[in-house]
Structures are given as C-alpha cells and as structure tokens.
C-alpha cells in the first residue's frame, strides 16, 4: 500500500455524542479529496454505521481513531480501536443478529457499511486492536474510442514506463482491442488508470516504436505486501511471434524481482502470455452481476526460491493438500491438527472483506472458538442475501488454530479450490462457496 497524498485524523471517545463530529470530518475530508457528493454520502453512511455499532459494542472508555486519507483514485476511512479479547466477538458480521427480526437491522452496522462502499477490510492492528478500512473510489468518465489506423507490426521498439497521457491511451487501446474477460474493469476509465499508476499502487510498462506509438503493455498491482497481480501482456497489431510480450513480462518481473513480493499472480491472462512463465494453481468461479458465472484459471509464479516449510492442517484437508503440493512440487511438512479436548474460547471471529469490483466477499478467521461451525453457518445465511454472490474463505496454514474451521467450512458447502503459496504466515487455502448453492 502506498502513502496517502493527504490525511486527516480524529480521535474520539466511543460515545454517540461524537457521532456528528466524526461524520462531519469524513464528509468534509472526502469532498475535499475529490470524492463526488453521492460517494461522500455513502462513505459517511458507512462510517456512521460503524461508529454507532462500535459505540454499542464497545466500552465508553475506549478511544476510537479515525483517519480519512486521499489515495489518488479513492478515499479511505480507517477506524482503529483497541480491542480486549472479551469483546472481539462483536466484530463478526453476524454479532447481535437475531435472524428474522427487522428490529435487529440496526445492529448490522458492519454489513450495511460493507454494502455502501467499494471495499471494506478488517485487520488486526498491532499491538492490540482492530483496523476497519472503508474504501470508496472516485468517479471517472469512461474512455472514448481512439480513432487511429492500425499500425504495422513494429520492426523495432523499446520498453519503458509510460507518461500520464500514454497510460490513458494504453487503457483505451486495451478496451478497444480486448474482450472484457481479459482485462479488469478499470481499463474502461483511463483517468482512473492514470491515477492508479501515479499513486504507486500500480506499475506499468509499455512497448513503443521509435516514434512513440504504443504497440503493447503490461501492468501490475500489489495485493498486500507479498503478492503482485499482473494484467496482460496486451499487444496491439503485433506479429504473433513478436518477442514483445516476453520483453514486457521480463520487464515486469525485473521490476518486482527484488521487491518484498514473493509471488506473482495472473487472473487476466491474454493469448499473448508467453509460455513457461507461470504455473496453474487451479481455478476460481466468479459470479457476475447478471447471475452468470465465470471460471478463471489462476496462474502463479514464485519470485523467490521456495524454502520449504511446515504447514498446519485439519485431517479433512490432508488429501487435498497432498495432491496440490505434489502437483506444484512444493516441499511441505504437513502437521495435522486435531482437537483433543483442550479448552477453547467460546466465540470465534471472522473478518469479512467486501470487494464490489470483483463481486466477492472474502472471510478470514481472526479468532478461534468452539462456535466455529455455527458462526460460519450464520455468515453464509446472512451473506447469501448479498448481491455480491461469490463467497471465499481463506485459511492460513501457518496458523494452527485456523485448522479448526475446516470442518465448519466443509459442512457449510465450501470447497477447497487452490493453495496460494506464502500468501499468509504460510500458504493459504482458498475455499469457495457459490451463493446460489443450497446449504447442505
């Protein structure tokens, strides 16, 4: 994550008396940072829901920190508060929920907030606390078609970083040349792409002729600190055997090879992707807004030498893991975790991440508890009403306690789809449940 352009901070007691102060700050900051009126109001609504919810769930002596940050193409509100283990349960989406009772909707602050913004993320805050991040993207006009004659394949070209106007032109060329399945939706908004690159969250290379005509390009973004996702390479009117695609991918890899990223992921691959660079991790199914689904092959390559490692897993996952590790040639020492009567906390906690651009909700465990099965079930019941119909669950095999969720997931219709090497403390298993599937 890059540094914000500008930031405002406010610290308030967890008391409803300060609600209007908090929402005023967020509204003013969001508008000053360039978020349009409707977007600002949605961000204010989400902040209001969460602040109110935390005032009810927390203690009045708690202090809540609110940060409103300008990140070029989006505004982010961070809500940080100290958490005692005893009230962690409140951070479940389903906390305080009595199904079938309309009066309890006021207690669904996290869920309502998740529906108001483009992304809602929650993470533990070192040393003791929780950080909720609300992200609302700014509005950009859709790109217009570029009227240009198709260039001949380049005899010579160079690969370099783009100027701002070239970023916009590159985005428009992708939009004109490739089907929407081969590029993320942001290419429809060239100005947004320019801001994404300017903000440092995205990297980009283009291949240009000696007179600076764009013949191709590739771009990538950081997903957290250790995984990078690449898009493309995209080529425009180049010969099928052109080495340009390989040059672009090599350039991308050279750019991130010595960063702290350990893996490169590719979900939007084109026919021009050179062979021999990636490994297939498996496939994920994504629900589309029109209720159809799209299966995507997930390609991956490690950027560092795999050191081999120990992973923790429930016996129910052993066979799946053995097959995946054998197929991917990953040296792993699988240690099985079983509950043998030891005392566990009563309540588990799940963090939910909403990503509207991908129509996905991702759950991650942040606290183990004996109610894991019921908690997962409650989340499925609640989220199946959400229009974001792709539900994923990520288990970190580096945290032995997370293995306890395995049975709960399998019992609730989740299927292990793939293993992301080194995506967490250790490898991460991604489960998926398509929301139209009935509960078993």
């Amino acid at each position: 994550m890059t540094n914000p352009l500008r930031q405002l901070r406010l610290t308030a007691p967890a008391e409803l008396d300060f609600l209007s102060t908090v929402t005023s700050m967020v509204e003013n900051a969001a508008q000053t940072f360039g978020l349009e009126s409707e977007g600002s109001l949605k961000l204010v609504l989400a902040t209001e829901e969460i602040f109110t919810y935390l005032c009810h769930a927390g203690r009045s002596e708690d202090t809540i920190h609110i940060e409103c940050s300008d990140y070029w193409y989006y505004v982010r509100v961070d809500i940080v508060l100290p958490v005692q283990p005893l009230n962690m349960e409140a951070f479940n989406l389903t906390a305080r929920l009595s199904p079938d009772s309309d009066s309890d909707l006021k207690d669904l602050g996290l869920l309502i907030a998740g529906r108001s913004v483009d992304r809602l993320q929650m993470e533990e805050q070192y040393p003791a606390g929780v950080r909720l991040m609300l992200i609302k993207e700014k509005s950009y006009p859709e790109g217009e078609e570029i009227l240009t004659s198709a260039p001949s394949p380049f005899e010579s070209y160079s690969i370099r970083g783009p100027e701002p106007e070239e970023i916009k032109r590159f985005a428009s060329l992708i939009q004109q040349t490739y089907d929407s399945a081969y590029a993320p939706s942001c290419v429809r908004f060239p100005g947004k792409m320019a801001d994404m690159v300017a903000g440092g969250e995205y990297g980009m290379l283009i291949a240009v002729s000696p007179n600076d005509v764009i013949g191709g390009g590739i771009f990538w973004r950081y997903l957290g600190s250790e995984t990078v996702e690449s898009f493309g390479p995209y080529l425009f009117h180049q010969a099928p055997d052109s080495p340009m695609a390989e040059g672009l991918l090599d350039g991308c890899l050279a750019g991130i090879g010595r960063s702290d990223a350990v893996g490169l992921l590719s979900r939007y691959t084109t026919a021009q992707l050179p062979a021999g660079y990636f490994e297939a991790l498996g496939s994920m199914t994504y629900c589309l807004p029109n209720k159809t689904s799209l299966s995507r092959e997930i390609l991956y390559r490690q950027l560092k030498e795999d050191p081999g490692r120990r992973v923790w897993a429930h016996p129910g996952l052993k066979r799946f893991l053995e097959e995946q590790y054998h197929r991917l040639f990953l040296a792993r020492d699988i240690h099985l975790v079983e509950h043998q009567g030891e005392r566990h906390p009563a309540h588990s906690v799940l963090a939910a991440e909403f990503d509207r651009s991908r129509n996905t909700i991702t759950l991650r465990p942040i606290w183990a508890g004996t109610d894991a099965a019921e908690n997962v079930s409650r989340h499925v019941q609640l989220l199946k009403k959400d229009p974001l119909c792709t539900l994923s669950f990520e288990l970190d095999l580096g945290k032995a306690w997370q293995a306890e969720f395995t049975n709960a997931l399998l019992d609730n219709g989740f299927v292990p789809r793939l293993v992301f090497p080194h995506a967490g403390v250790s490898d991460v298993v991604v489960f998926q449940r398509l929301m139209e599937e009935p509960l078993p």
Partner: protein, 367 residues
C-alpha cells in the same frame, strides 16, 4: 508490555524484505525427500580449501577458541601487503566481503546520498544501500555487462560510490583494463569507485585488470577480494578491501573490529601460499564449462558463459519452479528472478559427477 514497532522502525527498514537463506542440508533432505544435496547455488569451490589451509583447520588448538582473535587481522594484512607491495594499513579485513561493502557505504554516505551500480548484478551493494536509507541508482546492462556510459550518466551531486562487479556475477562479463581506466578517468576522483573482484583468481584473460595495481594512479579506487570463492573458505567468512591509505583510514572508522575469527585469519594466511590450488581449481572449472557447453548445446538451452565459476542458463519454465523440481533430485541451483533475469538459473561449475547429476536432473524436469 508491547513494543510499538510502527513508531520505532524507519520506513526504509519497514519496506525492506529480509533475506531468507536456504535451510541446512539435513532439513532440505527431509523436506524434499532427496539424498545428499549437491550445492550448485553459491559458487563455492567443490575442491575445498587449499591443503595448507586444511592443515591449519585440522591443527587448530581448541583452547584458542577462548581467546579473542587479532582485532584487525594483523598477520593476514601484513602478508597481503607483502604480496601486493602495499602498506598493511591499506587493507581492511571483514567477516566476508559482504561486511566490507557495509563499511564503505557507512563511511561515505549520509542521508540523501546515493550509490550507483548495475541493474543485474550481485544484489548486496543495492541491498546494503537501501536498508541503510540510501538510494541505489541502477544502470541497465548492455550485452550482459556493466554499461560504463549508463553509470556515468546517472552520477549526480549526491552520488558517493559507484560499484562495479568485475567479473560480473552472474553474467561473467568483465571490463578490460582499458575500459576500467577510461571509466576511472571520467570519474576523475570525484567519487569512490569500488571494484568487486570476488572472482579475480578465476580469470585468465590477458586484458583483465588487477584493480590493486591501479591504486597508485587512482586513489579513489577501492578493491574487494574474498577468500570464499577460489580459496573455498566461505564457511569461515573472510574477505577484505584494499585502497589508498587516506581512503582506508576513513573506512576504518566504520569497521567492526574482532569480527573475523582466528580460524578464518589463520586459514586465509595459509591459503595464500598454495598456488597449485588455484591451478587445480581453474582446470576443474575449465573442464566443467566445456562439459556443460556441450550438454546445454545438445539440450538446445541458451546460456550465458563468461569468467568466474558459474554459468547462467535460460529455461523454458519459471526458474523458481525449476529450483523446486531440481531440489527433488537433490540439486540446488540459484534462481535468477531476484537478479532480474527471470527464467534463468545460475549454476556453479563443479566436478564431473556433480555436473552429470545436474544435467540428468535438468533433462528430467524438461521432459
């Protein structure tokens, strides 16, 4: 009580990724279910240390371990000075050449300064600069070699040091004496120029320069050498730098004394006397290169082969995948994505059985 690391840790450290070295052989054998590991990843010398150094190791009296070593490697510096016709104070010995890289950067750079090196070379110059809070400016390679013009063009008011790896690891390219002199003339003493000669003893080309012989003419020149490669003392960690007396006096201020252990100092001292070891090693490398050239040509795999005891091979698969697959045959190579050469691997030239095992494993994973 918790430590607030967010406040304590500088941003340039937070963004830096720690280097994770490979696990010990016994752990790797368990993880990969393979036999003894053939290590072709670190450019070590499979012949082991010169026999004179081995004798020192065998005879080292255990009670000496209780006594601090010579804090400044007194005898070793005198011996090196005698060999090169230098004042012993022109030499600083470190815990491997990596340590002397840090000495130089600490001695000359302050906040806002930068160093210049190549984009695709030994990573430690760049790493030490970056995690010390200094910017590393990287010049793209030209024909797999350092680009002198590209480096000169990147010099600005805040540039303090230019690092040249000669011959370059991992490509094996080198600058001739003429090219190095022209570069030093252009720098004109305004910046420190470090020439890392870690693989000096492997090079037999007539136009390959001996940096130490240029010190009198170029007082801004600092030369690195190591005992880890040709002299096969990598496990003892010992290397050194040589420079102009005034320059080394400055670097000495940042030097950690007592960092080089007694065993390393004495083994290095003995190693310098064994000229036959160098000839045997060069012969082994020559034969290994010829064998691999034939085999890689047969397998139709492109490769980059120059000076030094290593070769770079382009694979039709991800180098990190090749690393994992070769490990299953007990063969450990260096993947090159981290050197900004994706899908290349670097292989240490070794003795025939190891080279044959590597080729067998390679053929297997390419099937």
């Amino acid at each position: 009580m918790n430590v607030d690391l967010n406040k304590l840790v500088p941003a340039y450290i937070r963004k830096f990724e720690a280097y994770i070295p490979s696990k010990p052989d016994d752990e790797l054998q368990k993880l990969y279910g393979c036999g003894p590991i053939i290590r072709l990843n670190n450019n070590e010398n499979p012949l082991g240390p010169p026999s004179s150094a081995q004798e020192v190791l065998r005879r080292f009296p255990p009670p000496r371990a209780a006594v601090y070593p010579s804090g400044d490697s007194f005898h070793l510096r005198r011996k090196l000075a005698g060999l090169y016709g230098l004042d012993p104070d022109q030499i600083l010995v470190g815990n491997g050449a990596n340590e002397v890289i840090a000495f130089v950067i600490k001695a000359f750079c302050k906040e806002g300064d930068n160093i210049i090196t190549a984009e695709k070379t030994f990573a430690v110059y760049e790493w030490v600069a970056e995690f010390s809070g200094f910017h590393a400016k990287l010049a793209p390679m030209k024909d797999y070699g350092f680009d002198d013009q590209g480096m000169l063009a990147r010099i600005d008011d805040r540039t303090k040091i230019l690092f040249l790896c000669n011959p370059n690891n991992p490509t094996g390219t080198y600058w001739s004496e003429g090219k190095l002199r022209r570069f030093l003339d252009r720098v004109a003493g305004h910046r420190i120029v470090v020439v890392d000669e870690a693989y000096f003893e492997f090079v037999e080309q007539e136009d390959y320069p001996n940096g130490i012989e240029l010190l009198r003419e170029y007082p801004n020149l600092v030369v690195f050498r190591t005992f880890s490669k040709m002299y096969a003392l990598a496990g003892l960690r010992i290397g050194y730098l040589v420079g102009n007396l005034d320059v080394v006096d400055i670097i000495r201020k940042t030097c950690v004394v007592y960092s080089v252990n007694s065993l390393a100092q004495e083994a290095a001292l003995a190693a310098l006397d064994d000229e036959r070891h160098i000839l045997r090693t060069r012969d082994m490398v020559k034969r290994g290169k010829a064998f691999l050239t034939d085999e890689l040509t047969r397998l139709e795999l492109p490769f980059v082969l120059g000076e030094g005891n290593y070769i770079m091979i382009r694979l039709p698969m991800s180098d990190t995948l090749a690393y994992r697959r070769l490990m299953q045959f007990g063969v450990m190579i260096r993947s090159m994505t981290g050197f900004r050469f994706p899908n290349f691997i670097r292989v240490t030239i070794s003795e025939r059985p190891a080279m044959e095992a590597f080729v067998r494993a390679l053929e297997n994973i390419l099937e």
